[in-house]
Assembly symmetry: C2
Homo-oligomer: 462 residues x 2
């Protein structure tokens, strides 16, 4: 058996903590076994390690998540990086091609595709064996996992299954993806199940899909021609109309953690960050990533979340319908974790007297790491070092810098900085078009400079 | 008649918009007659101008409010500045001494003391004549204004008045200041009135009080010996035990605007700033002074207020009990308006590698104004000009600066900047003790430099 874990869609359903650069699966808000905190992706990796210790796991993800994955799961995780964001159908085909072509998976290998954002107990993973049996027993091409619905949700797919008495699996009669509310009510009354988002099939099945789309199962070809694959979910493209499917029913705890309403139910602590609440708050969660305090008083069934991107104050039930509100906001990300450290946007100004703009950031670079050697076409930068020591590189000239030094970087000048101790600086950008995209990255090998300066190189040097 | 308007207590009852440096009476959240917005102090000045156009008004305030007063009411307002913050009893004595000594008010002059934070309709001011009549009619030394209570509040004083049938004024039988809830209920049942915070008396009355406290009514002496006056409110010191008082009943609209609960009732708009709300919010106000968005969903009877100082999310009724929550916060003010412009604290960091701290501010100086010539003992500063032009002065040497210039100011160096066009810069402070108090202000006359630079001087030059 091989596992494809879909670490997909950044999205904004958990705004303001999730955005295009930060995905919900990396938020460390769940409780781990030792009482500490862990993220969704850490939780599912821990659970899979326990239930399927010898099974190979492929993480279907994108470059933008690489830093977060390294940070939370280490360097050992096997990743398939989508060349561009599309949807689950292309993502599963790419990972399938990887298993077939690069890992030489035989045609009868069982492949199981899992979402990364499901909150479940350990017995969920024991169902994988039942699914494998059902696939054979019913002579089906796909096996799904069905969940007893608890309310008529419009967000899920519904599966109608013919289940023999006393059994917990059966043949799928029909599937409906994201029905409207009236239809969801009817389906629920008729005993339909939620589709838990798990797909199990044999390697030969995905092989046929890839061959149908592109005429080849070469991983290199699928990767190169990824943009030709239809932008569609696996549910719509395959599940909703497939004639040969089985389903295993799971009746343990299941929660998709896709909204603040569901996520807060599983959160370790009601408050995070600088929060003051009175005794009158009930069933209320307050998460504060800002440095200023949040005072919460007399709130019922409310979720308050503040980050550098914005502030959400919502009735918990209403928070499920966040997307249309958040889609009105097109601000740039104000906080990002990167491979080298992190930055926060402190201030953005449009000039009133002169032409142009300014943008101020707080930057932190971890010890032994550096920002890439780079230049900007549309801005000058002023860096004021406020903590730590490093080596600053400007057009090939290196010098040691530290707290109190002010570095002026005119546009078109190549620059980088190496952090020796952990390094904080304030960056003021002055220019016309102050976007992350105004960057040209150049190659640079720090090892020579580090040697000259008597500093040891490590894995951050490149 | 002379009016003393008490523009007092900054306080935190409207946190995070009011703090030690910003008082609630200057928040421009009310609706003026033209449909624009106005502050409490602007409203009451407008109303007084209409009802008592020829009456002298003295504003009892403190130096810290001077800039806001100039900004909102102009330079013409007559102010009595308390040398230190004490309470209403000393403040009224100081203003009384000013009227007696500097304005030569005769002994029988009527003096009326008003709070600045009462929200009333115009007919409230017509009651002043009734109060003057009642003072004479009942041979009383003080006349109060009584308000019919709408709920048993613990925040107000209660007056029991013997009112003849068909009359709207009478003799005060007793006064109780801030009773507990049970007592407030009893008082309300017995027909007691709220004390509306207005005191009317003759000049001779306050003259006797001042003489009793300090043995002199010289304004200079009262000002100099202000710290000797007891730190107590006029209600506790005088009203609660005075034997000879009358009271006029006012039954129009009256609201003390002292809490978010009461203030939001009078607010012009439910939202202020960058706010996105869904259709499910009812009786909910959202005020956002930050640049990041607030998304409000499904909220009932809620007030959300965000400023650089913090974020309040509260049930409206619960917001009346804000003080104990906010008193746990001892952060410095993060945003202040000053005579020369305004600043916002963007970032505060404690060093992890080196000793010390850093603090980053965004500064804006209005055209034709300057920050005072100053030096700091415990910090260096780096100013990066992001918009506008000015004249920078460092240890007596002046030079023109503009967008893109970086100014390094070592500790102990005297410095100032003159804004020619409106000037924005980012200030990074690096030092050990980064507080507003680390400042030594020096005299400087800009006129010579401005003349040399061919710039015209104006009222900002000093």
């Amino acid at each position: 058996m091989k596992i494809i874990l879909l670490s997909g869609g950044s999205g904004k359903r958990l705004w303001p903590l999730s955005n295009d650069a930060r995905s919900k699966q990396f938020l460390k808000v769940l409780q781990n076994e030792e009482g500490g905190s862990e993220s969704m992706i850490q939780r599912i990796f821990r659970q899979l390690g326990k239930s399927c210790p010898d099974t190979e796991i492929i993480l279907a993800t994108s470059e933008v998540q690489s830093d977060s994955i390294r940070r939370q799961l280490g360097n050992e995780v096997e990743k398939v990086l989508e060349p561009s964001r599309r949807n689950t159908y292309p993502a599963i085909l790419l990972s399938g091609a990887y298993l077939l072509d690069c890992k030489q998976a035989p045609d009868d290998e069982i492949i199981i595709v899992l979402p990364v954002d499901t909150y479940v107990e350990q017995d969920y993973f024991d169902k994988f064996r039942d699914m494998e049996r059902a696939l054979t027993e019913f002579g089906a091409e796909i096996c799904l996992m069905g969940i007893h619905p608890t309310y008529p949700s419009e967000k899920y797919g519904y599966i109608t299954v013919s289940v023999p008495d006393g059994e917990s699996c059966g043949r799928v009669v029909s599937c409906v993806e994201k029905p409207d509310l009236a239809q969801a009510r009817r389906l629920m009354q008729d005993g339909a199940l939620w589709n838990g988002g798990i797909f199990m099939f044999r390697a030969s099945f995905v092989k046929a899909l890839i061959a149908k789309e592109l005429g080849t199962v070469s991983y290199e070809a699928v990767y190169r021609r990824y943009h030709e694959l239809p932008y569609i979910s696996f549910d719509y493209e395959v599940i909703e109309r497939h004639p040969s499917m089985a389903c295993v029913i799971y009746d343990g705890e299941w929660n998709d953690l896709g909204t603040w309403n569901t996520l807060t139910e599983q959160m370790k602590e009601p408050d995070g960050g600088f929060v003051i609440r009175d005794d009158g708050c009930n069933n209320t969660h307050v998460i504060n990533e800002l440095e200023i305090p949040i005072v919460a008083m007399g709130l019922q069934d409310t979720v308050v979340v503040a980050s550098a991107d914005g502030i959400l104050v919502s009735d918990k039930h209403a928070s499920s319908f966040l997307l249309p509100c958040v889609e009105q906001i097109d601000n740039r990300p104000m906080y990002e974790k990167r491979q080298w450290g992190e930055y926060k946007v402190l201030d953005v100004q449009q000039c009133k007297v002169d032409a142009g703009n300014s943008l101020t950031k707080s930057m932190y670079i971890e010890a032994g790491r550096s920002v890439s050697y780079q230049l900007h076409h549309f801005r000058d930068e002023v860096w004021t070092i406020v903590d730590g020591r490093g080596i600053f590189l400007l057009d090939g000239e290196a010098r040691r810098v530290g707290r109190g030094d002010v570095l002026f970087i005119p546009r078109e000048c190549k620059h980088a900085i190496w952090s020796l101790t952990g390094l904080s600086f304030i960056e003021v950008q002055i220019g016309s078009d102050l976007v992350e995209e105004d960057i040209e990255r150049l190659d640079w090998d720090w090892s020579e400079i580090l040697r000259q300066q008597g500093e040891t190189d490590n894995d951050g040097a490149k």
